[in-house]
Symmetry: C2
Subunit: 338 residues, 2 copies
């Protein structure tokens, strides 16, 4: 073919309509997989090159997802959002979507960035992380008719099934409950919980999982002496761990809301107590303590599924069950007679 | 103003040419800061909204930098490239540039991604990380006339000043030398080096810094018994540390090529020896060992400076001197009489 191939040539070669070719290019999620493959093959065979900018102007679709790169936190678990970004970028790439990064120090800055990216037709959907009670970002996006999915529940809204809030989250309560139960099964009874200050949906859910397991095991009395909170730094966690040991009355294990907190407990107790963290960071693997894995590949898959599938499908959310990773250095069973 | 403001309105309000307004929008780096501020103010005052897609077609400039999100490595120091990405995104945002992410498992995949992004006019420059000897990526970009900067030297080329290779790197040799000297000053003499297998430019430079310091201190004989290598995992580093202790003949300190390796040495020796790592990760802070900080803010600033400034300026590279971060738990001075 001496002239450049057109979308018409691709449609004819694949035996589909031009609209279908356009859909494969711009909204691959709405096209059946076998059709998508046939169109992609025709595109490759013919060497068809859609011009992204022209395509954008025509369709107002950039096949690009905007996401804020969260501020770097100086902790161990901060990398969890970087790991989510990795999973999301890899899976987006596989379905022909691109990830555009931006930064924003505060929610208002993030909203300003939304506006800029929408005005420039730079993105056609947003992924939000670190949702919180009274989050103004989702309200703004709903008001402005934008497509988005949050990693994190829409904390504080009345109905978690509200279809305007598409979300994916990890069931931290179930993960911490499983961690606590694994210690109970090993004979531990004075299991302390090292959490974050109350008020964050994520942190409160994780504390709830520990409380659920303790209450279910008939150990619900006086739980307050087994609960300490710290901000997510190792230094703070060491101090809180010291208080747990002091007030815990025979503390024999610790479950923590994050690997940063868990590392503080491991260092403070010099490895004498079993500690289970949350996030399954490289640090937990290196130091040999158990941890709850968020299964970020599942989270990323859920986010992309909600972004690319028809908004009519319900429910518009996914709750991923995390996985307890027990490490070989997990201490042996405590005799039941104590 | 009832109609939408145009670039002409902005130029008149700012007292500059339309070309200057265009430069501020598309190549802000080539405009003087005071002029840039004046134009930006006029844009804000008038509420002028350049349409990104239209602008792209007109100028073939998207003000977007493409960068590969490096494969997730299951180590402690892997986060260094994520931290570079954070610094780069924040600083790019401040000068109106955007970061588009992609993934690629191998150099050939990355080159294929370059081609796709160029064909789509999605980006107008690339940032490359993890350069290596015989890197085909830079050759390809040079052949195709693309703008790029590498974080990492163009290992293996004859002339590091070759202006076609714009690069920023951290002087790992100087950093490890400073780390080793700080131990020598404290009276240590049997200082082992835990490095990566030879053949990587970065790793060989870091080993060179240790060797330089030891030779300069008159301790160059029999260095081979003080050198061990491991791949960048804590488990491997523990084994290599055990060999160092066994063969090192009174080993009294360790310098490591990364914090992952350093953590292996800390765990293996149970904190009995001073260990200095490289990368100043949150893990080194949490565990309280010293480490060499790459100063990634400086690296990101250098990358953006080279990307946005005229290609005629020389040199087309920056070598950033890293900073040794000594931690308070750094062991006390060893008496000089040993």
């Amino acid at each position: 073919m001496s002239r450049l191939p057109t979308v018409h040539d691709v449609a004819r070669a694949a035996g589909v309509s031009r609209q279908t070719v356009s859909n494969v290019l711009n909204s691959p999620g709405i096209v059946r997989e076998d059709t998508r493959e046939r169109v992609r093959k025709a595109i490759d065979d013919l060497g068809y090159r859609p011009h992204a900018s022209a395509r954008r102007l025509r369709t107002q679709k950039s096949s690009t997802i905007g996401i804020r790169l969260d501020p770097m936190v100086d902790g161990i678990s901060g990398s969890i959002l970087d790991r989510f970004l990795h999973a999301l970028t890899e899976q987006a790439d596989a379905v022909g979507l691109r990830i555009l990064l931006f930064t924003a120090a505060r929610p208002e800055d993030e909203i300003r960035q939304f506006g800029r990216l929408i005005d420039g037709s730079d993105v056609d959907a947003f992924v939000l992380t670190s949702t919180f009670h009274g989050d103004p970002r989702t309200e703004w996006l709903i008001e402005h008719g934008q497509t988005f999915v949050t990693f994190g529940r829409p904390w504080g809204i009345d109905d978690m099934n509200d279809p305007r809030h598409a979300w994916v989250d990890v069931d931290g309560r179930a993960g911490v409950r499983a961690a606590t139960e694994s210690l109970l099964e090993r004979g531990h009874k004075r299991i302390g919980f090292l959490g974050w200050p109350t008020g964050s949906g994520t942190g409160d859910e994780r504390a709830g999982g520990w409380r659920d397991a303790m209450v279910a095991a008939g150990l619900g009395d006086g739980l307050v002496s087994l609960l300490e909170t710290a901000v997510d730094t190792v230094a703070d966690a060491r101090e809180a761990s010291a208080r747990l040991v002091e007030n815990g009355g025979g503390l024999d294990a610790v479950v923590a809301a994050s690997d940063s907190l868990a590392l503080g407990a491991v260092v403070q107790t010099n490895g004498a107590l079993p500690v289970i963290g949350f996030d399954n960071t490289p640090v937990s693997a290196a130091m040999g303590f158990s941890s709850v894995d968020q299964r970020l590949d599942e989270v990323a898959a859920g986010v992309l599924d909600l972004l690319t599938h028809n908004e009519g499908t319900v429910p518009r959310h996914r709750l991923v069950t995390p996985e307890l990773v027990l490490r070989s250095s997990h201490p042996p069973v405590v005799p039941d007679e104590r």
